[in-house]
Amino acid sequence: MAVQCECGFSNADGAYFCESCGQPLTEDSALHVAVRACKVCGAPNMPAADKCAQCGAALPIVIFREKSEAKRGAKSRNRSAKLIVTEDNSIYELSAEKEIIIGRTDTQSQSYPDLDLTLHHGDDGGVSRIHARVWRESGEYYIEDQRSTNNTYVNNQRLEPFHPTALRNGDIIRLGKVELIFEYIEPAAP
């Protein structure tokens, strides 16, 4: 029995994704397909794996949250966040709706990033004009290096260009030599 996709294409029974447009066709495939990526070689692994099947590297232990903790997690997903420039503790509040570009101003190339690190030694600190992008998705904040010259680091781990990385409270972000701290903003007590 054929499975009809929203796009109109008729797929074979048992297909998970539409052969024509890639749309998920089943409950299974409509879920976020999550696997455990190896930090060493990048290979995907089964969620319960404790070591990478490709390179043998140990995979970090996952602690599955209890339901109540998951609820607390849901609350945290509504929190806004900020970036603190460690050099002078200046604070930049992140928008929940709009992505921001971090970089330095360059009038010649008409580059005006949302978070301008020019005044924080961005120029001699090796910050590119368009260095990194930060945005919120499904309650989590992500950072992505924009193929910067001097790279973006999170907790001293270099990010691959254009590979989104989830940010955790207290993460230290380094763009060239300029350091920022990512922190959630605690909601005011009721």
């Binding site: 048992g14 998970y16 089943t26 397909v33 696997v35 990048g42 969620p47 099947a53």
Partner: protein, 421 residues
């Protein structure tokens, strides 16, 4: 089984399968494992086939020569090496010989001069002839093809030569400088020989980096000339077979030729302690409850000592009437199925070269990074895809099964994991 032998395992992506009244798609994963323990490296039989056409003039040629000098320095005295330079003529600068006398190689690199057009077939043909001089399975057979322009009127001849390379067990590493070379033609080279996808070099220092990386990888070859064969039982129709690791082979649009009993697949070479993972998509006629063999997969290969090996495994699935319509599918298989399907859609769109909008779902867009999403939006809108954009998209697509996915964050997803363990 010797320590150096390969091992094949296979599994269905969900079990048991429901009994259906009509034919259904059944997905299986086959893995070919290489030995964990490094065994003495085999010497290499390597040819550098370099484009010296007029467009290489200036800093490109300087960077290429510098990179070649470093590359030949990496070879061992026992390795055989030859250097072929081509434009619309071809010259064997160094016939295949042991690399003990490095000065010969260095001098030959020094005399490369640019000029003329580009006829890739001339270079590949002469390169294969040099490799044939020491076509012994105990050598790692490797061609390094470095090009910067499109070939003219010899596409079919090139395709025939790539097929010949596959038959001889020669892997071809392709380094493309700039954006002018014909990526779709060279996709055929990597497809039929099972070689890694080409490198797209936009910064000249990358020539040296890529060359070093490719030669280092070649030195870790645990088995080469791996040829898999999939034979389906009656009532099972092979739809597609794709390699998903170590690199997603977006180019494998393989389908069983009508009337053929088995599909041969060139996988090329494999490194130590690695896995080649294949996704097999079959259409299966209705079955009764019980376990059934859907297909047999075999892999023939050459080991470092020159001996040939053969391993086989059955692809078995179980059908049951007492299961829900859709039993749980393991997340890793679903991950591969999603990405192979996406790759197929993107490749089809790129190959059709149509300027009409392509229907690409949001789900596919989410698999790509920011730059990839922008390129896909262009495909979606029917914009003309530049050669540079096409190369980037092909490379990003081939990396889909190696990217780091977003971390698990929702209660629903974690509950699903729990049920799968």
């Amino acid at each position: 089984m010797s320590e150096a032998a390969l091992r094949i395992t296979s599994r269905a992506t969900r079990e048991p399968l429901p009994i259906a009244q009509t034919a259904q798609m059944v997905y299986s994963i086959a893995e070919i494992h290489t030995p964990l323990q490094p065994i003495p490296a085999r010497p290499m039989n390597i040819v550098f086939v370099v484009d010296r056409s007029g467009s290489m003039k200036g800093i490109r040629l300087i960077a290429l020569k510098e990179a070649l000098r470093r590359a030949v320095d990496m070879l061992d005295p026992e390795d055989f090496c030859s250097i072929v330079a081509f434009d619309d003529m071809v010259d064997v600068l160094v016939p295949s010989q042991k690399t003990a006398d490095g000065a010969v190689l260095q001098n030959a690199i020094g005399i490369i001069e640019e000029g003329g057009g580009t006829m890739i077939s001339l270079g590949v043909s002469m390169g294969l002839a040099e490799l044939e001089k020491h076509a012994n399975e105990s050598f790692t057979q490797r061609m390094i093809l470095i090009i910067d322009g499109a070939s003219h009127n010899d596409e079919q001849y090139c395709a025939d030569l790539f097929a010949k390379a596959a038959q001889s067990g020669v892997s071809i590493d392709i380094l493309g400088i700039g954006a002018e070379w014909d990526d779709l033609l060279l996709l055929k080279a990597v497809s039929v020989t099972g070689s890694p996808l080409f490198s797209f070099i936009t910064n000249l220092p990358e020539i040296e980096q890529e060359l070093i990386k490719r030669i280092a990888a070649a030195k870790l070859t645990a088995a080469q000339n791996i040829k898999a064969q999939i034979t389906c039982v009656p009532g099972v129709d092979l739809q597609h077979i794709s390699r998903v690791a170590p690199q997603l082979a977006v180019y494998e649009q393989l389908k069983l030729p009508e009337g053929a009993a088995a599909l041969p697949l060139h996988i090329g070479a494999a490194a130590y302690a690695s896995r080649i993972i294949l996704l097999i998509e079959t259409m299966v006629e209705p079955r009764k409850a019980g376990s059934f063999r859907l297909a047999k997969i075999s892999a023939e290969y050459a080991l470092p000592d020159g001996t040939m090996g053969l391993q086989q495994a059955d692809v078995v699935v179980r059908f049951s009437a007492g299961v829900a319509k859709r039993p749980h599918t393991d997340p890793l298989s679903l991950y591969y199925i999603q990405r192979v399907n996406a790759a197929r859609i993107i490749l089809r769109a790129l190959q059709e070269k149509a300027s009409e909008p392509v229907n690409i779902s949001e789900g596919i867009l989410k698999l790509y990074d920011g730059e990839g999403r922008e390129l896909l939006q262009m495909l979606r809108s029917g914009a003309i895809i530049t050669p540079e954009a096409r190369k980037k998209l092909l490379l990003k697509t081939s990396a889909l099964t190696m990217q780091r996915p977003a971390p698990v964050s929702t209660e629903r997803e974690q509950a699903d994991y729990g049920s799968s363990m």
